[in-house]
Symmetry: C2
Subunit: 234 residues, 2 copies
């Protein structure tokens, strides 16, 4: 489904933002995608605040709401995060090119990420989604499920942020590479040891259009009663 995001012109009019946020749910989901190429023009703080407010409507384990969002617009801070991103990308992107560079879809993602790495300081807003340690209820008995429950308290809110960004016409993506060294990320963002940076959502008004989005057919991923019963399950 090809949608034109350029018809959603940049705006800081909050009434217009609310109007756009009333986009039909299914349309927002169907046309959501990573949009990494964005303009350097500022995004109004009140718009970012509204998107984060909607992120807070998502669930957290035991309603702990142990989320924190650091909004970075300062160029010096972005440059320090960019240095981290560049370092991780030198390893990860290089490997990706060698291993999967011949696949056109992966090659397209790699090009788009490289653009983002190179232009990271020009992206107007970086939202760093974080989790504070310690929940309202005592912790889970199993390490594997504890980890899943932990991140299950931040990524639903991140998805709300991404869907809301799409509805208002902002380009957004979900990245973790600039945080590869959690120690460095904490230092750059002034985070105490009790606060873990989980991912970054760069935001800006898009350069181009929302394009198509390749997806596995649903019957390939639905298993009935037991695993292995999907149409082409493996």
């Amino acid at each position: 489904m090809e949608h034109d995001a350029t018809d959603l012109a940049p705006t800081d009019d909050l009434d217009e933002i609310e109007r756009r946020l009333r986009m039909p749910l299914s349309e927002a989901m169907l046309t959501q995608r990573a949009v990494r190429r964005v303009r350097p023009d500022p995004v109004a703080p009140a718009v970012v605040r509204r998107l984060i407010e909607l992120a807070l409507e998502a669930p957290t384990g035991s309603n702990g709401q142990n989320w924190e969002f650091v909004v970075v617009t300062d160029r010096a801070t972005k440059a320090r995060l960019q240095a981290q991103y560049r370092r991780a990308w030198a390893v990860y992107g290089g490997l990706g090119e060698r291993v999967r560079g011949d696949d056109p879809q992966t090659a397209r993602i790699l090009r788009s990420v490289r653009w983002q790495v190179e232009h990271f300081t020009e992206i107007p807003v970086l939202v760093v989604a974080c989790l504070r340690g310690g929940s309202k209820l005592p912790y889970l008995p199993s390490p594997a499920v504890a980890a899943s429950s932990h991140y299950g308290s931040i990524y639903p809110s991140v998805q709300n942020l991404l869907l809301a960004a799409r509805a208002v016409g902002l380009g957004a993506s979900l990245i973790t590479l600039p945080l590869w060294s959690v120690t460095m990320a904490r230092r750059i963002l002034g985070l105490p040891l009790t606060v873990e940076p989980c991912c970054i959502v760069p935001l800006g008004w898009p350069v181009g259009r929302y394009g198509t989005k390749p997806r596995r057919p649903v019957d390939e991923v639905i298993h009935h009663e037991r695993y292995g019963t999907a149409a082409t399950g493996d």
Copy 2:
């Protein structure tokens, strides 16, 4: 914001489902909440399939789409998962009551979860969201960010599932306790070692209404440039 979910009567009419899925995005987010008390009446498989189809519109790391969804409606399988849930709840719920049972909001959640544990076999559909190991691109250099990126490839889709459930009027919640023993969960669901069960979304037509949802004020969780600058940041 008090919304009445009971006006969305159970339906298996897919045109009506599509109509409901066009609920304004902001309204779906604002009225989403855990709805655990559901009726035993079946939910049409085509409706569950449509919700999962929308879940697949969410992002995954490097567009790996390494998700799998096991849809459980079989009573015997639900009973085995219930036994696991009960065991974890005996520890976790008991601790919760001792530590936070005097807080009215936590007490309400605990009551609602206890209902879910006791009626688990009567819940018509359990969707188990899973991740297959191995992504399309080589793995990340850091363990902490690797874990975050890993679960960041399933919870955005789970949030789509929850929002879509809310839009069509289905009660839904996000739970992990029945999976506390990943080994047992794998055995019950026939999952190979390469597939990790991450969480369960129980689905059913709700008994009651969607109620209010307590949230921290947004200015308490937004930090500007560096952590510790929120209105009441700690």
